[in-house]
Symmetry: C2
Subunit: 192 residues, 2 copies
């Protein structure tokens, strides 16, 4: 941030009175501009023994597979955002269930939230941000071609919990929590 | 937003190509500026049969009681943010446990996340944003003087889950999810 979004004057980094962190403060109107992590919300769409994945048509990680997910918008709940992204990217109408995982992606200034979701019929289509959308059984999942570590973790927990019978009574499921460490960062270099 | 934070030129609301929502776009450098909900992270600090609450020294809801919580910052996980707020507002060192509740506060453009947290000793102090900090048993909780609906809901779930024995084995706990509806909005008018 170089200029105040409110009045257009230059800003400078200063620690406000009573605060402990540097913030962008307007040199003219004195407005303090806070910056905070953003939420990425998505689903694990389940049809019978399969999950629905999308091959990304956009950067970053074009050509890699992901669960349907995207930035939470103003004026929607996290569940509604996850449902909307599933419809936009995978053309699938889902019934959103329990929160399944929360992953802190500190280097990207993001929090990823994935909800379990039921597909009531195997109907889906290729959204504009996808190259391909298909259902995968556990043995078919392209583990080496998953776009993001948060998706790999979430799919891994999903199949593990399913094998342990925890998805039958979802009240037994605690939300999986994880911070993505530096060693787990996916190389965000654009694929050529 | 009136001016581009990047180059200082005026912005206008337009729907970008391939998008469905109006965004602030810079008339000069064409940067699209997205706005997203912010996370408020906090804890339910537990000591024996009591929970730790703070009386707010700041607006909104000055003089009302709350669980320690505040905005998630860049460069911290949701758990670390919740732990930090508990130390800042209540002077308490806690061991952060499972995610207990996620509440969408759509009108405020916020998502509230509360974690169960253990106090290993009954040590706390009054932070600069608090007027008073104290431990409350269930029967002592000042239900009519709670600052925010998300805190009332979370405390209500906490005591209910405890009565049902679910806090003994937290693996039985599913994260409580709730959207704060218009009828549940707390009047944010500053208390004089």
């Amino acid at each position: 941030m170089n200029f105040c979004p409110k009045c257009g004057s230059p800003v400078s980094l200063q620690i406000p009175d009573g605060d402990t962190r540097s913030r962008h403060i307007c040199n003219s109107c004195q407005t303090i501009h806070y910056e905070n992590p953003r939420n990425v919300v998505g689903t694990i769409p389940v049809w019978e023994d399969k999950v629905l994945l999308c091959k990304r048509a956009i950067q970053p990680r074009l050509g890699f597979w992901t669960l349907p997910a995207g930035f939470l918008e103003i004026n929607e709940s996290t569940q509604a955002g996850a449902e909307r992204e599933t419809l936009e990217e995978a053309g699938a109408v889902v019934e959103v269930g329990p929160l399944f995982s929360l992953l802190n992606v500190i280097h990207a200034e993001q929090v990823h939230l994935f909800y379990l979701a039921k597909m009531h019929e195997p109907i889906f289509s290729v959204g504009v941000e996808s190259l391909e959308v298909r259902l995968f059984s556990e043995s078919e999942v392209p583990w080496d071609e998953i776009a993001f570590t948060t998706v790999t973790k979430t799919l891994d927990w999903f199949f593990s919990d399913r094998a342990n019978g925890l998805l039958v009574n979802t009240h037994l499921l605690a939300t999986h929590l994880h911070d993505i460490g530096d060693e787990e960062r996916v190389d965000r270099t654009y694929k050529s």
